[in-house]
Amino acid sequence: MKIQALMLKNFMLFEDARFDWSDNINIICGENSTGKTTLLKVMYSLLKPISKGSPEMATKEMAERSFVEKLQGVFRPDEMKIGRLVSRVQGSNRAEFCAILDKKQKISMGFGSRQENHADIKLDLSENGQSFDAIYIPTKEMISTTQYFNSLYEQYHIDFEEMYYDLNKLLERPLSKGPNTSEQNEVLHSFEKIMKGQIIQKDKKFYLKMKGKGEFEMGLVSDGYRKLSMIIYMILSGSLNKDTILFWDEPETNMNPKMIQPIVKALTVLARMGVQIFVTTHDYFVQQEFNMLSVYPELNINNLDLRFISLYFDDDSDRLTYEMKNSSSDLAHNAIMHEFDAMYDREQGFIYDI
């Protein structure tokens, strides 16, 4: 399963937008509050209810409840009113959005700004029972809190977006049977090389086992390593496989720049394996490591299709707009690179009292 396009109308910051995605790697950039995470969340909300292991939707009502609850859980609007996700204008308004999937499949959703928990859902799905998984890796790591998180989440109102709960459920899965594929081993090798150890799970708790040093519980391991541990474990448990759509919100969080190159390398291996990847980033190194693959085809031996999306507010209209290119060098609005140049300009201004 691949997401070919996402169309949004009057959804949060997006007035009218269509994104045609790459089957391989999509890198979404932009300043804060330009809707990067919104794009990941809305796609996840549309995909997760029909992914592997999700409850069957025998009736239209069940389908509606399933999508609405996912949207509520992921975005957590006040009082769980989904109408709060409609673009704010005077009077009433209506949000419409849809994900176009491969094999001419489509998931559409729409609701008005006064709706609390009702939405119009239209499913054009050719397959009964989907075999893909949608994984969302949020900015905070989860592996150090796996043990009691799900029971807490199920019994109490704790203010965590539902992606954390879903991710935790994946981390609770046992190890899968059978050998890994060569691509899985390549990713594991790349990450385990950084961490100089292996991830093991005992009684729902995770440990980093380092040669000659013993086992370290995740609470004693850095946040960056914990994130890598999550990926490693999801590969080992079979959750992250060739049929996965991976959404990773700001992989650079808590990572030293030195760790970015192996992470990008591992993501390209996952893409080669068949995983469709969506990454948001504020980070120069993440963006440019991917960009190298685009501008130097000899580095992109598998000819992966990379798309760089820049979200920004137009200076004249002050409207959220976007551009999409095959290389970040071609982006006319690149907040990361612009800020480097702006910093140089500010420094020269200071030096010469301009």
Binding site: M292, S329, D341, Y344, D345, I351, Y352
Partner: protein, 198 residues
Amino acid sequence: MIYEESDMKFDFPDDNTTIKFDDNVEFYRKLFNALPGSKAVDFITLDKEFAAFIEIKNCMGNEGNNRWRIFPDNQKKETSHTATDLEGRDSLDIEISEKTAMTLAALTGIVSFGESRPSLRELRNIADNVILRYLKDGKKKKYVILLLEGDFGSHTRSKKMIMSNLQRSIKQKLKWLNCQVSVVDSDTYPSKIFRIVS
């Protein structure tokens, strides 16, 4: 007044005192060059408020042979593939820092002669000013400027990032001197100090 250097023309304000230092015969060529490895910046210019030591590097059209020099601390010297002999050459941050130090040493040398060498009179006025007015007065600004012409930007690094990196490295090497270091090009140069005519 218009000066030429590295196939470029520069206009310095007439009110300021400017010399093309390494062109000077009486001191630079005859005396200072006796010091092995002696070198100096291209221009010294004095305004009421500041003194500027300016080095021009016009690599336009010859970027390939100079690319290794934009990486500080000779990082790429050993692995560069250039058509030019690299013996005695350094990355630009090292070269500019050394040129600044040697320029100040040369100016000190000029001052040391006092009135004894009439042929150095013009230079002595400038040297006296630099040493006794600008360097002695901590409030007067001292600029060390590298003008780097050439298309060195790449897909992953803009030219401004490259210039910032060199600037940081020169600043670090000149921390013994109270000065402002600035690496600029024809798009970003300080027009209050000079103008590029062509």
